[in-house]
Every structure is written in structure tokens, then in C-alpha cells.
């Protein structure tokens, strides 16, 4: 059973992925799987709602474009607000991780 991700964490990871370059939904899922060495396998039932939420929040914006296979896909990219949100959430995540580590090593 693949590790489940908390909803907020997934959104942070999606933002990070899109910070590197704009991509479509499947591309994000693929990239996340690759970089995490298969630990996180995001199914569309979790990813697409997350993308919708991020879009509603104004953190990413989307447009239909042609893929390399000449198919139509919705490409997402980070907005300035999203970039700021990513930084903030990254900082908070680091704080939490440091705290958890300290507790576990105490």
C-alpha cells in the first residue's frame, strides 16, 4: 500500500514540482513518483482535486496546450502567489521536521 500523503503536504509537493517547470497533470504525478523513488504514487483521484484546489486558490494557473505527442493537455504553472505560498509552506515544513526529529532523538 503506497504511503498516503496528507492533503496539505501533497499540495506543497505539487507546487514544488511546478516550480521547476510547467507541466500537465500526469507529468506532475510521474515526476513525483520518480523523484521519490516510487515511495509516493499519486493517483488522479487525489492529484486532480489538489490541482483544482490550488487553481481556485490562485496559486497555479492553467491552460490547454499541445503535448509532445500532439495531444491536448492542461498545463499548470506557478503564479507569484503560489511561489510565495511555496516558500512559506516550505519554511513551516522545515520547522515541523526539525521539531519532530528533535523529539525522536531525545
Amino acid at each position: 500500500m503506497p504511503d498516503d500523503l496528507v492533503q496539505g503536504t501533497l499540495e506543497m509537493l505539487v507546487l514544488k514540482t511546478l516550480a521547476l517547470e510547467p507541466m500537465h497533470g500526469y507529468g506532475v504525478a510521474l515526476r513525483l513518483e520518480q523523484i521519490s523513488h516510487g515511495v509516493f504514487r499519486i493517483n488522479p483521484g487525489s492529484l486532480l482535486p489538489a490541482l483544482s484546489r490550488l487553481e481556485r486558490a490562485g496559486r497555479i494557473k492553467a491552460e490547454w496546450r499541445a503535448t509532445e505527442n500532439n495531444r491536448r493537455a492542461r498545463y499548470y504553472q506557478l503564479t507569484p502567489r503560489g511561489r510565495k505560498a511555496l516558500e512559506a509552506e516550505r519554511a513551516q515544513w522545515d520547522r515541523q521536521i526539525a521539531a519532530i526529529t528533535r523529539i525522536l532523538e531525545a
Binding site: H24, G25, Y26, G27, L30, N43, P44, G45, S46, L48, P49, A50, S52, R53, R56, A57, G58, T67, N69, R71, R72, A73, R74
Partner: protein, 877 residues
Amino acid sequence: MFSRLTAGLRALFHRDRRNADIQREVDSFFQASLDDKLRRGMSRDAALRAARAEIGSAESVRHKVWSAGWESTADSLLQDFRFALRQFRKNPGFSLTAILILTLGIAASIAIFSFVDAALIRPLPYQDPSRLVVLFESIPLGPRFHLSYLDYLDWKRQNTVFSSLDVYSTYGFLLQTPTGTENVEGARVSAGFFRTLGVAPILGRDFRPGDDQVNALRPVLLSYSAWQRRYGGRSDVLGQTVVLDGDPSMIVGVLPPSFHFAPAEPADFWATDRADGGCEKNRGCHNLFGIARLKPGVTFASAFADIKTIANNLARQFPDSNRDQKAFMLPLTDVIVGDIRPILLVLLTGAALLLLIAAVNVASLLLVRAEQRRREMAVRGALGASRPRLIRQFITEGFVLSVASGILGLALATAVMQLFLRLIPKDILATMPYLRGIGLNLHVLAFATLVSLGAGILFSLLPALRVSLSDLRESLTEGGRSVSGTLWRRFGSNLVVLELATAVVLLTGAGLLGKSFYRLLHVDTGLEPGHLALVQVAATGPAYDKNEQLVALERRLKSTLSTLPGVQSVALTSKLPLGDGDITTGFDIVGAPADTVHREVAFRSVSASYFPTLEARILHGRWFTENDDASHPPVVIINEQMAREYFAGQNPVGKQIETQGVKHMEIIAVINDVQEGQLDAAPRGAMYFSDLQFPSGFFAILLRTSQNETALLGPAAAAIHSVDRGLAVSEPATMTERIHDSPSAALHRASAWIVGGFAALALLLSVVGLYGVIAYSVSRRTREIGVRMALGAQRSAVYQLILREAARLAVLGIAAGLVCALAATTLLRSQLFHVQTWDVTTLVGVAMVLGSAALLASFLPARRAASVNPTEALHAE
């Protein structure tokens, strides 16, 4: 934020396009996934299988994306709302009953609350009203009597506890208008009165200390409504002259619209007290009430003690005038609303009780329906509805019900408020100026919202609890006789018993009050009230300065009025009976040993025809005759109560008394007690002088007629004016009207109606509640009834079965209610007139009414049970 709103709205209104967009995205994901797998070298079949497995259910993915937006919650709420409406439409009987019951309950409580708010919650229009007190002089006859001017000055000078002390009295002014003399309502106050209250005029100026000097033009303040009514709200009213009581007076200011002073209302004109009548020089002439503001830090008790000491000192200093006169003090709020406060609180409790019954009733009806929908809920749950979703359905239904009833109830309440206002006679309403602002104001709306929300929460919780407590799986099985079902049934039965008991209590109260009202209206007043026309007359001015002039006027009036068609007799009195019973004086018995007992009785000055016109009865002695005039010795007629109190065991006729400066007055008769006070007042001593010997410039005329007395009022006024245009004629009425509109009658009538209204509603609610419980029980026992009938039970046996269950509940409820009624009605004791709180007829009547109502309520379900088809019943469930 705003974009989120618009995106959601767009999704809501263009649902298909949104769905299509989502589908396209899912498709493109699938396509990208497929391409990627093919690129990695999987076979087409394997790639397809893997891609499909990855997506899972496209429907489910679409739903998840849709749920990511706020519009999905809004949409499902809207769905719930539409479903709730459809449910209500499908069960019109249930919906209409529920809404009707709730609306009635909510309307009653909102209407009552508006009165409570206007009278008790809204602050009085003065500065720091809790620091204001009203001062009286208390005498053996009672605690709330007037002060005299000289006493007021001494109290003002000697006290150390009031930052200011002023006086007021109600007063009727004779206003000279182009069309004649008009009697107008007003008040006379000392110069610092409005400053003591902390009220400033919105136009012009307040009174100044020099204003009560006789030589200055008397200043007058207008009430706001008088300014609007009589002067059209024009700002040039300042400086205008009005002639009041023959004195030219100047309007110097207008009072604020929010201002009212109930003890002196209604009052159009406010004038300063003038040192003119001579009453202010006589310490024994009492015509004022005091109003004072406590100094900061002074308590009510210490101020009361201080003023009591001052009054006792005065009584010692001036024994002739002030003997036995003590000081009495009450907070202003008590004087204004003290009488109606207990009534209003009782009404509010009643309304709350009624609302509770209504809410409980509707909740139990909802429970019944929730039971019937058990299977529907179970199926929905099996199809994937989450428990919160199901609970939300009930919550929506509950709130739709309560919001609809709340709105309807608010609308109905405005009508009920007007109805209540009409229960109060107009001239009594004028003395309750704080009721002017009754209507849909902020407080009332807030209360209405609170009540509706509370009801909504109650209705949603109960069925929702039922859903969460029950095992959904178990409801799907056949013949589920769950423990929780029996629990709820017992709960419903207990509720009905409670409702029945409450209805019994209210019905008993209504019955007692109704009986008391009836007894009040038929009490022996000592006079015959039918066919009597009444009118007040004021004869003032230099033409009526001397007694002979007034006597001559009386003769002219009598001869003119007796020529009117249908008039059987004409009589005069200085003050009509069945009023406030006031105007008293002291007297001493000539020849009796001197003592310190203070004798005080009411006194009136009447014409010789007075008692015959009233059809009073003479017990000893003779009537007044035309011979009892100024050239003959003064005579007096006393009533039975005075004879009982002061001439016990003797025959008073022939004895002499000394009173009002007359050394020898012979008692020529004893008559039966004519009620000078209110219908329910205790008998009080009264004596009557001949108005040929002691005429009064302010008197009332009574006309006994054989025909319709109301038609006589107009011609009578015209006839009086034909004798002298300068006479002020006012307050035309008939004696029966006077009785009907009297404060005590109005109070009893209003109480009986209101409690009766409550009782009727409570009865309706109990009947509906009983019906609900029995119907529910029948629906759960359908199978059992089918079995019984299949085994040979007759229809009558089924009837008995159901009716016995109903009877058990009814008997329990009625019995409990009767016990509670015996306890609760002791609260009414002070309101009841000649009726015991444990009046047997009423109790038996109430029990019978409820018994038959209960029978009716249970008859319908019983009939349905008896007409059950055994085979159908056995197959059902």
C-alpha cells in the same frame, strides 16, 4: 477570494460545462498515462489495463474534483433543500399541521415578548431611571395618597438624601378654542420637574425657577404628539398664547418624541404649578405627588427612612392637618410598570410553555416520520450516503420547517399584537405610553430569529439522533423491533402526558379567569347600570363663582334635559360611581367623646334625584328633597358601610356629624352601598351631600332613559350647550360602557381572553400530539394487529386495544394536569374575583373537555387499526 466565489458560482450555474471540463482533464490524464506506458515498452493491452487501473472509477475521480470546490457543498445543500420541500409536498397533512402548530406557537411568543420588551426591557426615557422615586403620603385608608404643597416644601427643605425633589399632578385644562371650550389632558408640575427626570425639550426651553410667580405669563410645554396634532409640528409654535382655565399662557417649548411619564399620561399640556388656588396655603389640601432623584450613593432604604422621619416630625408639628400621615416611597419603575409586571411575566411564561409544547409536538411528529423513513435512510446509506450526509438531510428539513414557521409566525405576530392592543380600553392605553412603540423593532426581530433558530436546532437534533443511534443495517431487516424504537416510543408517550397536563393547567386557568370575569361583571354595584347616559360638565369662570349661580344652573340643566325624548330622570353628582373611589375627607361624630381616631370616608355632592335615578335602595330615613337647599340646615346621606364602620349597633339617622368645616350636619338616611370604586373594590364608607347646599363646578350628569341611551348622548351635549355655550362637556358614555371599559373589568377580560387563547392552543397541540403518538404506535403494531385479527379478534377488540392505550395516556395526563392545576392556580388567587382556585365545576369541566378531545384524537388511528386487512398486514414490513 472574490475569484473563488465567481469560479464556484460559474460552476454551479454551468454544471454541464464544468463536468465536461473535468471529464476532459481526466481523459487527457488517461491519454498521457497510456502514452507514457506505451513509450516505456508495455504492450497495448497491458498499458490500457494499467492506465485504467490507475484512474480507477472515472466517475469517482470526477466527483472528487467537483467536491474540491465550495460549490459542491452549496449544491448538496440546495439538493437537500429541494428534497425537503418535495417531502413536505408529498405529506401535506403532516407539513401543514407542523407549520400551523409552530406558527401559532411562535406568533404567540413573539407578540407577548413585544409587550414585555416595550414595558419591562426598554429603558424609560429619563436619565438614570433607576435613581428616580415617587413620593406619596400614606394614611390609614391606604399608602398611595397625595402630598400637600406645604408638606412638599418641608420635605424638599429638610431632606438630605435627594439631589432634587419635585411634584406633579394630572390636570384637566379647559382650553379655549374658536369652537368653544374643550377639556384637554395635561399635568401641573413644579419648575424643576423635567430637570429631575433628566429630560430636555427638543424645542424651546424648560421651566425656570421664576416661572411659578403669578404675575408672569404662565409658561407651558407641549408634548410631542400634541405639537404634531394641534399645531402641525410647526416651529413657530414657540411664543404662541393659549388660554388654559381662563389664564393666558405661553408655549415655551416642546418635549421630545420619546418622552412619556406614565403616572401623568395622557398629557398634552405641561404647566407649572401656580400658587393661585389657595390649596397651596392649606397643609391639609392634598393634590400633588412627589418625584425625586436619589443622591449618588444613597440607597432606597436610607432615603425612605429619612423621608419617613421628616413626615413623622411634621405630623407631630402640625397635628391638625398631618396626624397619622406618613411618608411612602416607591421606585419610579415600580409605579409605572409594577402593576402589570407580574401579569406580563405570567404571560411570557405561558407563551414559553406554549412554544415548548408546539416544538415538542412538531418534534414528535418528525420522529414519527423519521421512523417511517427508516428504510429509506437505510437504503440511502447502503447506496453510499455518509452518516453526516443523512443527518444533514434531517437538519435541512428541520430548518426549512422552523424558518418557514418563523417567517409566518412573525407576520401573524404583528396581527396578534394589534389584537392585544385592542383588548386594552383606549383611555387605559393612554396611561401606558411605553406601549406606543410596539411593533417590529430590533429586539422583537432578534427574539424571533432566536426562537426560530432554537426550534430548528431542536427539530434537526431529534431525528438526527435517531439516525445516528440506530444501526442502519438493522433497519433493513424484516420486522425490526429495535430497543431504540421502544425507547423513542416511550419518550413520545411521556411527551404527550406532559402536553396534556399543560393543557389541563392552562384550561383550568382560563376557566377560572372566565368565571371570575363573569362574576365581576355581574357583581352587585348597588345601582342599576342599564339605560344610563353619562356626561361630564365643567362650569367655570366668573359666571359660576357663587353657589347660587351653580344651583340655578343645575335647575336650568334639569329642566332642559328632562324635555329630551325618552328621558325618565336627570341627576347630578360631583363624581361618578364605579371610578377610582377617591376624593375623601375626614369627619367627627357630634356628641361622641373626643378621641384620636381618624375617620375618613369618600364624599360626593349629589342632586335629590341621584339615588332614584341610580335605583339605589334606601334602608332607613328619607331622600333629599328640593327643600334641602342653602336656606335649610345641612344634611347628609351615608351608605351602609359607613354606618357599619362608625355607627355600629345604632341607628345613624338623626345623628349629627362635623366635616369640611360644617359643624352640624344631620344624617337623614342610610342607603345601600353604591360602588364608588372599581367593580372588585372592597366596600368603603361614603357620604353624600345635597348639591343644593354644596354645589360643585365640576360634575357629571346622569340620564335614565327608556330607550337607547347611546343615542341620547349627542342630544344631551347639545342641550347642555344650549343652556350655556361656555360649559365644557366631555367624556360622553353609557354606564354599561363605563363598567365594560373600567380598569378592573378590562384586566379581567384581557386575562381571560389571553389565557383562554393559550388554553385553546394548548388543547389543539395536545390533541395533535396524542394523535401522533397513537398513530405511530398503530403503524408499528400493524403486524401484531394483523395476527390478532387472523386469529379471530373482532374489530371492536382492536378498537379497545388502541383506545385503551390512548386512555392510559389521557388519564395519566389529565390526572397529572389536575394536580398541577391545583398548585399553579394559587398564583391566580389575587386575580380571581369571587371564585375559588379549586373551583370544582371548572376542574370537572376541564377534565371532561380534555377527555372528549383525547377520545376524538385517538378515534382516527383506532379506526385505521380496526380496518387493517390481516393478510396485507402479515405481508407488510
